[in-house]
Subunit: 344 residues, 2 copies
Amino acid sequence: MTKKIVTLSGDGIGPEIMEAGLEVLAAVAEKIGFDYVLEAKDFGGVAIDKQGLPLPAETLVAAKNADAILLAAIGHPKYNSAKVRPEQGLLAIRKALGLYANVRPLKIYSELKGLSPIRNVENVDFVVIRELTGGVYFGEHTLEEDKARDVNDYTADEIRRILRFAFETARKRPRKLVTSVDKQNVLATSKLWRKIADEVALDYPDVTLEHQLVDSCAMLLITNPQKFDVIVTENLFGDILTDEASSLAGTLGVMPSSSHGVGGLALYEPIHGSAPDIAGQGIANPVSMILSVAMMLRESFELENGATLIENAVEKTFTDGVLTQDLGGRATTKEMTDAILARL
Amino acid sequence: MTKKIVTLSGDGIGPEIMEAGLEVLAAVAEKIGFDYVLEAKDFGGVAIDKQGLPLPAETLVAAKNADAILLAAIGHPKYNSAKVRPEQGLLAIRKALGLYANVRPLKIYSELKGLSPIRNVENVDFVVIRELTGGVYFGEHTLEEDKARDVNDYTADEIRRILRFAFETARKRPRKLVTSVDKQNVLATSKLWRKIADEVALDYPDVTLEHQLVDSCAMLLITNPQKFDVIVTENLFGDILTDEASSLAGTLGVMPSSSHGVGGLALYEPIHGSAPDIAGQGIANPVSMILSVAMMLRESFELENGATLIENAVEKTFTDGVLTQDLGGRATTKEMTDAILARL
Ligand SMILES: CC(C)[C@H](C(=O)O)[C@@H](O)C(=O)O
Ligand SMILES: CC(C)[C@H](C(=O)O)[C@@H](O)C(=O)O
């Protein structure tokens, strides 16, 4: 059956890297016989410019009816002090599609080790799973002249759902270790979180569960990143820890992510922003977008063969020394994409 | 006039490092003619064991009447699942004494550079200022069977006070740069925070203010720690970022901190815990406690000469290769302390 993929190119380098990702998708689809149609929609800054809001109704309807969504990049700083901002589109689409599980694998490619700010990145290989539709992001916000308040709410069901997702993820990995991160010595939501983590663990006797406080975790990510396999945490801690973790690689240019919803729908996107300073020059690194396509083939369509084809081609491209500027090389977006296509 | 210093030795290695700190204090006081009396009180686990609660009334009364407080270390894990826990003492003393400004300098000693997990720590020299008596730490916490809630409150006055503290600190430093950290694209408290930061900045034309989102800051601490001079942030972000920042040194053993209250009262303590695994063996590193004494002389008693004497002696001790086990050497607590005393 033909799969429908909605593409949201966004702004800045978004359209350029989306094009690269789709070229690779087309080539792989032909090789493995994957049948799909694309539907491009406005999202973020582009949508604000054209329609006055970052997530127009028709984009949302298309996304809801899609089998998967590819998002390139949003976040042009020209909206930074505007009333309606591109990020509001991100928060809105997460909520509207119920994208509760954000998955960010951290892999350090041996050819890119030199880029890492960390001395010892040998054998770093973990994934951070962030709860994405609850917590203080979606609680009440009250801003007055002389005081302000934010409310952080979690239900047991929300916590159970993301913890199950983490345990399922860990079960498929060789080390089968879940590190649940909270601040249970201070927060009520964290006390509930820890209790439920312990309960869910009972259903996964093959997986090991350990708890870390968020402050300790922020240290350990730097001093002992090898320690981690699957990290799972709530929305705000996840925002901070995923960014901290990704900085270990020394580049955001090669990191994909997925966000999964309840009905099986998922959105795939690079973790970096839209880099407006280099937009339109043809030099943006397309790898994170291309790897997001691989993640989509694996996680939404169970096409492990397609995902592996892409991932191996990317790795081979690195080994052969083809690198974009941000990775210390001189390849353009097109040259990088062609190099990957040639190695599929 | 004789100054009264209340000492809270705590548990684990607390008493050993407190003894070392007080030896150095005595020696320096004699050199510079500083007149003080000590009053030792129970706090944390010790107080729970003896009196059933971590911050007994007589400890609090003594602390309130002190000119400064020295705290060594608390946090024995034997209380981890107890109803009354040592950390509750920490939160209670912060609140009761109004210790709103937590100050953590990050200095990387050139002799200890090899310990850092980070490749490039040349010229890293910043201080993190964390708001310590507001935010979600002291908001309402509701824990039910199937849901939980934490409330994050800030008043404009609380925010203004800590920002003034940060600008005052920056004013005394060569670079005069304040980085205010928030999550203003999501939180109402952060929107208020940013507005007030901009207002306070008007009173400090000699200081530069920049804003960072907490997720970006968590990255930049690793990828570009040289960027920072004075970082100021709210309670929970400060908890995470101070721990992340301190991990850049590769050791917690040499880092002091201060927490300042409204009336000028301040508490000084190492940033590490009570390391019960090595307690009683005479091998604990006393440097963070000794440097906390230096910080006290400077910040509570304006004895810059005393502070500098200690700091130079510590640095000289490192240069001469006298290091405790945690720093890669073999010196005992006593040998390390004697070496510092000999270099005063
Ligand atoms: C843009 C912002 C609202 C968003 C978040 O905090 O979730 C971003 O930082 C992210 O991590 O996707
Ligand atoms: C023990 C805990 C409550 C405390 C905090 O979170 O403030 C600690 O982590 C700290 O940073 O002093």
